[in-house]
Symmetry: C2
């Protein structure tokens, strides 16, 4: 078992990474405040891991909400289902909520925990690669509106994150690829040696090699917890973690949430960010090529959906949390391992990037 720490004064918490962590009652118990537990999960995870977790929590008064599986269910109205389940028990303000699932479950459960009775404790038990390497760490919680992804949410930190790498072996290849998008993103923005490691080992990750996965999870959690500890509420450096995401969110909202997996949209989005970085004179073309090759080897799309034209795309990008005073802020690359926030760029370059990306297949 490896332990990392997200350092946020009184909101600090540990991340535990290891095989079988889900079944380790002694690991989880210290983070459960009262006797009531509300597990939020989805239908797929229910059939795979819910009974294991319930066995681990046999001493508690356990309740659960089972959502359908998929990004389109990350809505305010499903949040209301969670509130109704809590109120029906009724759960008091000492209830501990547990998100057992991927990014969707973690985001909606965390948001519900932040709002129920103005905030109750919650624990993240991420069961997808994407959630273990990215979304379960850092306290970003949200639901989608049909007008924009993650536009409704809170910064609300969990009491701990438990990443059981053994659960990832059941993941379908598409989910493993989606998780690799956030792994590649993390290397791209902060860690060139880790990028080199990924160039050596990407096939091990998408074939669910547990030790390779455990290594990647640890690297990503290390880098992310370092960044979040410095800038919890994204006033500065944390925005770099959005590399590929402004493009990616536009894809997801534009073609409908859940059609592409989030990681797939981020894969294409990172290729677009790299392309824009080259057009802006920040990144060398051979670096862009290496980035694109790695994303492709991870089984991810390297171009946008052809049904979006550049006008739609820019309109979609302008509904994003990175927009301030009418300017879409972009995260661009100056090198592999080095990202920066850019407010000033040529809008012709941006259009060219989008048109190129959405027409190359």
């Amino acid at each position: 078992m490896r332990t990392l720490k997200v350092d946020l004064a009184e909101n600090s918490y540990p991340i535990y990474i290891g095989s079988g962590a889900l079944k380790n009652g002694e690991l989880i118990s210290p983070y459960i405040k009262g006797n009531q537990v509300m597990i939020v999960t989805n239908e797929l995870i229910e059939s795979l891991y819910l009974s294991s977790l319930e066995e681990t929590l046999v001493d508690y008064d356990v309740h659960k909400v089972i959502l359908p599986d998929g990004e389109i269910y990350k809505t305010l109205s499903n949040c209301e289902l969670i509130f109704e389940a809590l109120l029906k028990v009724p759960c008091d303000r000492k209830v501990t909520m547990i998100a057992l699932g991927g990014g969707v479950v973690g985001d909606i459960c965390g948001f519900a925990a932040g709002c129920y009775q103005r905030g109750v404790p919650f624990i993240q038990i991420p069961t997808t690669l994407l959630a273990q390497v990215d979304s379960s760490v850092g306290g970003k919680t949200a639901v989608n509106s049909k007008l924009g992804k993650n536009m409704i949410g809170l910064f609300y930190q969990p009491k701990c994150v438990i990443a059981d790498t053994s659960v990832l072996v059941t993941l379908p290849k598409r989910e493993l690829s989606a998780g690799c998008a956030e792994i590649i993103k993390t290397a791209l923005l902060a860690d060139y040696p880790f990028f080199l490691w990924l160039e050596e080992n990407i096939e091990l990750l998408i074939s669910a090699n547990e030790s390779a996965i455990a290594y990647a999870v640890e690297q990503c959690c290390r880098i992310k917890s370092h960044i979040v500890s410095k800038d919890e509420k994204e006033h500065g450096i944390r925005a770099l973690l959005n590399l590929g995401h402004t493009f990616g969110h536009a894809i997801e909202t534009g073609i409908g949430h859940g059609i592409w997996l989030h990681g797939e949209a981020v894969g294409a989005g990172m290729c677009m960010a790299a392309d824009m970085s080259v057009r802006s004179g920040l990144l060398e073309e051979n670096q862009q090529e290496r980035i694109k090759q790695l994303i492709e080897r991870a089984g991810l799309p390297v171009s946008g959906p052809p049904e979006l034209n550049s006008e739609d795309f820019i309109k979609l990008m302008s509904v994003d949390k990175k927009v301030v005073d009418n300017t879409i802020r972009l995260v661009l690359l100056t090198d592999i391992g080095q990202a920066l926030l850019v407010d000033e760029y040529s809008s012709d370059d941006l259009e060219a990037t989008i048109e190129y990306a959405c027409s190359i297949r």
Copy 2:
């Protein structure tokens, strides 16, 4: 113009109290961060004061959401309407939201501001007596579920509160009475001299005498900001502000939100708290009688709705934020001006209080 301060480190903010404050652009402008403003109000207030506020904000890019008037509209689905209005513009994270209205508008707008893009600034401009003396101060925001009042929400502080006492002269008498419930509550839990003043002046308040109202607003804001500054998130002393509210919320939820005004339910709830205080041997009967008389003179109900029996009532009370580990915590009185939190009491006494309160009319 009088200025008070809620002292919460980096979340500190001023409360301005005065006649005509709504039309004072210089007062409001420093609290508007960017160029976009989203006003949330209701149909009634729209016809009375929206144009004044829009004139004050003529230099900004002003948008608005008009909700129907009433507690039953303080729901998550109306919150979604606010999010959609914000996203349609689209408003960025520098938008300033303004709650122009009573407690319902303040609560829902504050909650939406806390969630939109994980938090944007907001300003409270309370237009009812109840909102000026209580709900606009202290950062409690919430929406209702049909299973419980204010069970979904956030602690989210405004950037400032602007209480324009001149707007209260248009209030119907029923609203003035409802506001008096929170005024009496404030005196009861913390300030005997203020209670004496109320015994002298309650008729001036319910007949909309502006200088009496301005005095009462200032006293209430002073006491509340003092308590909130000591205990923002209700880990201790702030819970005393719930005097009459656990009973009151049960009435509101039990008969359906919006049938009784919140202040009316709190009026009856305070009579029940006083009755329970006497039964528990904490309060003298003659004090209870003085409390009841003042509440009655304020035009408020002094008994519960006859349609609720004690079993239903206790079930309703057990869905409340004051419930921890299956115990309903009560705020009781030891004297006029002196309240305390009580975990241990006779459940027979509680039943007797409810049965007496719901059968005396």
